[in-house]
């Protein structure tokens, strides 16, 4: 009686060859995809990185543009943390009617073209609108101002913060809060002593993602505020006015700037860099 065949032996040569071809095709498709993502960025930094870093020393307009970008993105992120954290918490913990609708409304700015987001903001905050003219009368100019840049950044990037912060709260079992409350904490005290310490990494990661998204915003900002110019608008202007060669250093600096939040996120998820070990 012949010995029982192993799985390997039972496969026909044709089937084995078919799987081999499939493996090659999948590997090829994955490699092309990675190349497609990485090649433009590597080309950009390679072609303009050094000149961009040098320009930081000589190009005052680039420096002020970068400073403006970083300052406005930071302000927008801080406003997002203050305003959107309670929303994220409510969406994670609350079981209120209309929660799904609120959630969908918050995600909407992520899905519309960003110039459209800019137009929508202009319709509400423009100088000829009731709100815009009211704010103007109070001395708060939106269009063509730093405030407008912050508004545009906040509008397009806060939904990312809400989504990620909500996940961070979701990961904290509500029973921890429940136990804290039976141990004498009010709702706020339990939030401060238990939930926030357990969720802070996720909330910080959410803020970093929001900041990175705000720094990279162009479409909504350019509709509301052309001057003063943030870095993305500056790179666009130099490209249209002087061509690729002049736009390259600004664009490369923006890519290098994006590496900062990327590194911070990686540091926050430290162990993600290491291959997981089975115990």
């Amino acid at each position: 009686m012949p010995a029982e065949l192993t799985v390997e032996e039972r496969r026909t040569p044709v089937a084995a060859r078919g799987e081999g071809v499939l493996n090659v095709l999948v590997a090829l498709a994955a490699s092309l995809f990675l190349l497609f993502l990485v090649a433009p960025l590597v080309g950009l930094v390679g072609g303009g990185g050094v000149r961009g870093v040098r320009a930081l020393a000589t190009d005052a307009e680039l420096r002020s543009s970068l400073a403006l970008t970083i300052a406005t993105a930071t302000l927008a992120t801080l406003l997002g943390i203050v305003g959107a954290t309670p929303v994220a918490y409510a969406l994670a913990r609350g079981r209120f009617r209309g929660r799904a609708i609120v959630s969908a409304m918050i995600d909407l700015p992520l899905l519309i073209p960003h110039p459209v987001a800019g137009i929508a903001l202009l319709l509400v905050l423009g100088r000829n609108t009731p709100l815009g003219s009211g704010l103007w009368a109070l001395g708060l100019q939106i269009t063509g101002s730093v405030t407008g840049i912050v508004c545009a950044m906040l509008f397009v990037s806060a939904p990312l913060y809400v989504s990620a912060a909500r996940e961070a709260f979701d990961r904290v079992d509500p029973r921890f809060e429940g136990v804290a409350r039976t141990l004498g904490d009010s709702r706020w005290r339990a939030l401060r002593r238990v939930t926030l310490p357990l969720a802070w990494r996720g909330i910080l990661a959410a803020a970093i993602v929001m900041w990175a998204r705000a720094v990279s915003e162009f479409g909504a900002i350019v509709i509301l505020v052309y001057h003063p110019r943030v870095a993305s608008v500056l790179s666009y202007e130099r490209f249209t006015a002087y061509g690729l060669r002049e736009a390259l250093p600004v664009a490369a600096i923006l890519v290098l700037l994006a590496l900062i939040p990327l590194a911070l996120l990686r540091a926050l998820r430290g162990d993600d860099l290491l291959p997981s070990r089975r115990r």
Partner: protein
């Protein structure tokens, strides 16, 4: 069977001031509804809620704790109506099966979280043998240590009521004994009121002064554990509480006297002799019963076995043949087939050996009429 937590001069009488009183409580979590729950746990008593998985036990303790809102009914803790009060106003603590220790705090910080003073924190740490691990990360503790920390943390608040949600379920048997012993000792000392939920009916008999059976969000029966075991209100309760002999049949009051029963003479509490027929066999019982379909419940340890029809005065005596023997240490469960009716008797392993009981052997199974509970 009596509770091993009771002293001879038992203070847990039902005349004691009620500490936990629920009147027609309703609570909803998602699609699950806890409906019309009423019971009282007296001050210093140990209450047990027994029910299978999904019965709503956790929802019940969380609604008492104020973590799940009560939609209808009334909850009183001590002398205060606290149906809608915030959890922090209720002077109670909760311990879950999975401890829920705060992972960002060490052992000492966990125990001290709601403690009334640092002196109490130190006392609790020492009390539960946690002094040596006080500075340790709680994630590095064993399951038993975690549960001890959870108990110490809950008791450091000096609660009037301690709510326990399957606190021993996740522990291995050895650890379970240790943690239970610690809890029992401190309970004896402090005499706070406890409400513990469990799916393990043995714990009810072991710990409880008052027990409630919960199933699918409804309270099936409330009473002393002994009462629940001996007189389950429904076949479902009997089955869940581990009664081996539950038979469906027809009950009929009869005029009869027998040496092993003594009907009550109280005019308002007249107990009748009852003939209960199941599968062509008639059992005799005693109780209040409406003629018609009923269930008879007989605890296995109420059935005795002998090799000959003795001079026993018991009303129920049947000849049968042993079909199965299951030994578990000192107690052996013997299944006897009586004309198609399978009776399970719990007898000592020693008597099984002495009587030379084995499968196929003919035996006589006997039990008193008072051991037959009709529901």
């Amino acid at each position: 069977m009596t509770s091993c937590l009771r002293d001879a001069d038992d203070v847990h009488t039902h005349q004691a001031r009620p500490v936990i009183a629920l009147e027609g409580i309703h609570a909803t979590v998602g699609d699950f509804e806890l409906a019309d729950i009423s019971f009282v746990v007296p001050q210093g008593a140990y209450g047990i809620v027994i029910g299978p998985t999904g019965a709503g036990k956790t929802t019940l303790v969380e609604s008492i704790a104020g973590l799940v809102p009560i939609t209808r009914g009334r909850l009183t803790l001590g002398d205060t109506e606290l149906t809608h009060a915030a959890p922090e106003q209720r002077r109670l603590s909760i311990v879950y099966q999975h401890a829920y220790l705060f992972p960002h705090l060490n052992v000492r910080e966990n125990v001290g979280y709601g403690s009334t003073s640092s002196r109490v924190t130190v006392e609790m740490l020492e009390r539960f043998g946690l002094g040596e691990v006080a500075g340790r990360d709680v994630r590095a503790l064993s399951g038993g240590e975690r549960q001890l920390v959870a108990l110490a943390r809950a008791l450091a608040r000096r609660p009037e009521v301690l709510l326990l949600d399957e606190p021993f379920a996740a522990l291995d048997p050895r650890r379970r004994v240790t943690v239970r012993r610690e809890l029992r000792t401190i309970y004896f000392e402090r005499r706070f009121t406890v409400l513990q939920v469990t799916h393990d009916f043995h714990e009810a008999g072991l710990l409880g002064d008052v027990a409630m059976v919960l199933d699918r969000g409804r309270m099936l029966q409330v009473g002393e554990p002994e009462d629940l075991f001996r007189r389950p209100s429904t076949p479902v309760v009997a089955d869940f509480l581990g009664a081996e002999n539950v038979f469906a049949g027809v009950a009929q009051p009869i005029r009869d006297e027998s040496p092993d029963w003594k009907p009550s003479t109280d005019a308002e509490d007249v107990e009748h002799a009852v003939a209960f027929t199941t599968r062509g066999i008639t059992l005799y019982a005693l109780g209040h019963v409406i003629p018609g379909a009923a269930h008879a419940v007989i605890r296995a340890d109420d059935i005795s076995l002998s090799r000959s029809a003795g001079a026993s005065s018991v009303r129920n005596q049947f000849r049968g043949r042993v079909v199965e023997i299951a030994s578990a240490g000192a107690i052996t469960r013997v299944t006897v087939d009586v004309s198609g009716l399978q009776l399970v008797a719990a007898v000592t392993t020693r008597s099984v050996d002495e009587l030379r009981i084995a499968p196929g052997v003919e035996v006589f199974a006997a039990f008193k009429a008072t051991a037959v509970h009709l529901c």
